[in-house]
Amino acid sequence: MKRARTLFATAVGLAAALSLTAKYAKQLQASGQFPDVLSSITPNDFIGAGLLQPYDRTWLDDHFTDPDGNAIKGRSYIPPTNAQIIPMIFYNKKIFAAHHLEVPTTWDQFMTVVRTLGKAGVTPLQMAGAEPWAAAYPLSGLITADVLGENPDWVKDRYAGTVKFTDADVVAAVSKYRELVTAGGFDKGALGVNYNDANTQFLAGKSAMYPMGSWLIGLIPPAGAADFGTFLLPSAGGGAVVPFTTGGTTSVSAKSADVPKAMDFAKAWSLSRTNLKTLIETDGAFPMLKDVPFDSFGAKVTPVYTEAYAYVTGGARKVSAFGEVNNDDALPAGLVDQFNAMAQKLFTDSDVKGQLAAFDAAWDKAAN
C-alpha cells in the first residue's frame, strides 16, 4: 500500500489518493474527498453518479483477451487484467482415495460422494459460514451452474423482469443447497466457522471438499499441493460451467484533478507483469493479458493452479459467477449482502420459496 501510494505520487504528481474498498470510497465521496484512483470497488454503484472514467476501447482491445469482461453497458471501468473462478470445489485427494471416491461429474455422483464421506465420519464440505460472503458460495455456485449455465443472460433478464427468483429453475437450484444441508454436507456448526479457521481445517485434512474462490490456491502450501485438486460443481444441464469473474485493478475517478495522468498510472499499473506475477502466486489469479505467454510472468505455481487454469484456457463454458461480477450481470446495490444473508438463513430455514420471494421483493426495491 505504501509502495503504491509512493509510486502513484511519483508517477502522476498528484496528491496520493487510493481507495481500497467500495465502502471506504463511498465514505470518501460523501465527505467530498473522492480519490483519484480506486481499487476493489463495484463500478456499478459509482457510474450512475458519473464518478468513474471509462477506459478507451482501443487500449482494452489491444491488451486484453476479454476486453469486455468488466463492461457495463459497453464501457469498462476496471481493466480486465485477470480472472477468478468463484466458487470452484477444492478437494483433498488423500481423503477421496481413502474412501475410493472419484471426482463427481453429475449432481447424483456429487451427492453420493457427500453421503459416503458423511457416513464415514468425514466432514464432506468445509464452509466459512461465519463470513456472510463465504457462506453464500455453495448457493451462488449452484445458481451459477444450474441457472446461469442454462441462460447466461439470466441476470439481465431479471433486470428486465422477464424471470424471477421464484421461477422453477431457481427454486430447484436453491433446493439442492437444502438437500446438501439436510444430507449432512456441512458441519452443523458451519455458520460459526470463520474464514481463517475454515482454511486451516480444510488444509489440515479435516474436511474433504471446500467451495471457495480460486484465490485459495495461493494459500495451499507448495509442499502439500499434490494432495489437493479442483473440480467444478456439477450442473443440472450436464457439462462443466465455469463461474467466471473477470477481475482487475484500478478504476479512475472522472472527478480527478488530472484525469489523463491518473489514467496513465492506472494503465501502467494494470499492465505491470510484476503486479500480475504477485497476483498469480498469492491470489491464484489467472492473467488475461493479450499476447503475453504465461511463462513470461516468471510465476511459480503449484499443480493445483495449473489444473484450475485449464478451466480458463480450455473450452469449458464460462458464465458470470452469480453475485461476484463487475459487469452487466452485477446485482443491484445492497443485494449481494442480502443474498449472503439469505444463504445463511437457508442453512436452517427450509422455506426455499418464501426466501426467494422475499429476495425477489428486495431486488425490485433495490433495482427501481
Partner: protein, 296 residues
Amino acid sequence: MPSRTPRGGRSLGLAPLAWIAVALYAMFLLFPLFQSLFWSFTDKSPLQGKSDFVGLANYTDLFSDDLFLHSLFFTGIVVVSVTVVANTVGLLLAMLLNKSTANYRVMRTLIFIPQVLSGVIVAFIWRSILTQNGLLNVLLVKVGLVEEPVAWLGSSGLATFSICVVVSWITIAFATVVYTASLQSVPAELYEAARVDGAGFFGRFRHVTLPMIAPGMTISVVLCLITTLKLYDVIAVLTSGGPANATQSTAYYLVTAAFTDNRFGYASSIAMVLLVLTALVSYSATHVLRKREADL
C-alpha cells in the same frame, strides 16, 4: 495581564472562552445533526451531489422495513440484558473489591482493562474464544461437557447470547469502577450505626448502601443504556450482523443502509430515530432513577 474591561467596568472573565466552546459545539455537533435531519427528508445517496426532497417517505418506510424493525428488537434485547447484567455484576464486584489494600487495587485495575481496550480489540479476542475451534469449545470438549463444538456465533439465538456476554463483559468493567467509587464515598460511620441498630448484611445493603450509591447507579445505568443503544464495533467484528442479519444492531444497519445500499437519506432517518430513542430512554431512565434517589 489585565483583562479588558467593557463599559460599565465588568470583566469579561471566561466568557470569550465559553463562546469559543459553544461555537465549536455548534460546528461539530449541532451542524452535522441538523444536516442529518435535513438529509433524512431527502433521497440523498453518498455518491450523488444532488438529492430530492421526499418528505416523510424515509420515516414511513422504516416501519415497513423488516430489517430495521428486527434491528430495533435485537438492540432492545442487548440493551436490556447488558444493562441488567453489567449493573448487577458490576455492583457485586465493586462490593467484593471495596478494600483499600494493594491486592484489591490490582484486582480493580485488572477488572477495568476491558473498558480501556478498544471494542474492536475486545471483539477480536472474543472471536478467537467463541469461534468453532476457539478456546471455549476446545475447553468444553476436553472436559467432556459437550461432544461437538457449540456454534456460539453460528445460530441466531446463540449469537445474540454471545453478543450480550461480550458487551456485558466490557460494560461490567465500567460499572464496577463507578460502583467502587460510589461505595468508597459511603461514610463508615453509617454502617456502624446500622450495625448498632441491629441491621444485618442485607439490612445494611438495603438501608445504607443502596441509598448512598443511588447517584452512581443513575450514572452507570444511563451510560450503559447509551453505550449499548449505539453498539456497532463489537457486531462488526464478531458477527458482521449475521447469521442472516440476526445480530444486526440498529447502528450497524444504519451504516449498511448508508454505504452498502447507497441510501444516505434513509440512513439519516434511522440515525434520527436512534437519536430520539436514545434521548427518550436516557431521559426516562434518568428521571426514574433520580426520583428513586429522592425516595431513598
